[in-house]
Symmetry: none
């Protein structure tokens, strides 16, 4: 089997262009016109060759039944995970959206697309995103407007950044979490702010920060 001929290369290019432009594949006669090929049989011949080489896939007897395959294909959504942007989290401000439970990305107002690397091996249902408001985490390199990707968690290790629900104040904040006996220290990552102490029974960890993303 030879390499892809010049004509086959042109067809492949045309396929890509046509697909991005129309969102459906070209007919054989579209290819014929688009690549200046004289006959439909020549197109068919070359399409069969391309299929034999595994570069495309065809559904017979079906109009426009051509798919790009493998390398040629536009990368798919399999690699991206859409997580709900459930709200904004601030530095001890009243929480806007406390319900981080089972939010379906399909119904969230806003979502953030992440790649598989960025969520690690975590299950997508355990992941959500928050927009950071305020500068209380500035020393932890998280600034106003950043997006933090959270993993749902009931507990975190000391020193991890966590979203913590303070029950009596009914607010959620993003802080470093330290357990100190029967109370916890919530440490803002900003040198100008003092730590906050609460009874251990009064706080509930909601999630830990997995990734931080900042657009410049």
């Amino acid at each position: 089997m030879k390499r892809r001929s010049d004509k086959q290369e042109r067809i492949l290019d045309f396929l890509r262009d046509f697909l991005t432009q129309h969102d459906y594949p070209p007919s054989i006669r579209d290819i014929q016109a688009g690549c200046s090929i004289s006959s439909t049989s020549v197109v068919d011949y070359n399409l069969k060759a391309l299929e034999a080489k595994g570069l495309i896939q065809r559904d017979r007897e079906i109009s426009r039944g051509i798919k790009l395959v493998g390398e040629e294909r536009r990368p798919e959504s399999e690699y991206t995970i859409r997580v709900p942007l459930v709200g904004t989290i601030a530095a001890g401000q009243p929480l806007p959206v406390p319900t981080t439970e089972g939010v379906d990305p399909d119904f969230a107002d806003e979502t953030v697309a992440l790649t598989a690397d960025q969520v690690g091996g975590r299950h997508r249902d355990e992941i959500y995103a928050l927009r950071v408001k305020g500068t209380s985490m500035i020393d932890a390199l998280i600034n106003d407007g950043d997006i933090v990707v959270m993993e749902r968690a009931q507990a975190v290790r000391d020193g991890e950044m966590a979203a913590v629900w303070v029950k009596d104040a009914n607010e959620v904040t993003l802080k470093k979490f330290y357990r100190e006996g029967d109370r916890v220290r919530l440490q803002p990552m900003n040198a100008t702010m003092d730590p906050i102490y609460h009874a251990a029974s009064n706080v509930q960890v909601q999630g830990r920060v997995v990734t931080a993303i900042r657009a410049m």
Copy 2:
């Protein structure tokens, strides 16, 4: 004009399913069979209704000339872009990989997958990634080990974070860039470090920071 009827909702669902399954749109008779509709004219009728509502778009007289539109469409951002991780950039250390020119993601040793949001509307050829070594950018909220996504650029505005090639030292550093007359100030974002001054002719901007990503 009424809301989408039950039948139209079924058609929309079928369209989505068919598209993800086949990579080309269904014919009217495919829809007819898939949605248990009795006549092609009914399908056509409802497709026209859907088009009038702006939910789909049709190309007349063209087989399978149906596109999903807007909300219904698979969002662009679900596509991932693989950018080459061309090397490590440090705080004034000798540069490891100065050749950020035309690196083909297919041949890079390591790549980073990003979503379309994360690179904005930029062209994929203009984007590459660097791993940050050292803490010279700590005050700009970029830490050792972070990944910065760069956009190739020959010039940046004052105050933008840029990868700058210092010619006589033959090194590349990541700094905030300020033009001051015929010299430039390269400002490390770390309070413990002093700015560096160079003749404007001795420095060359290679790119600007687009996004910073940190895994915890």
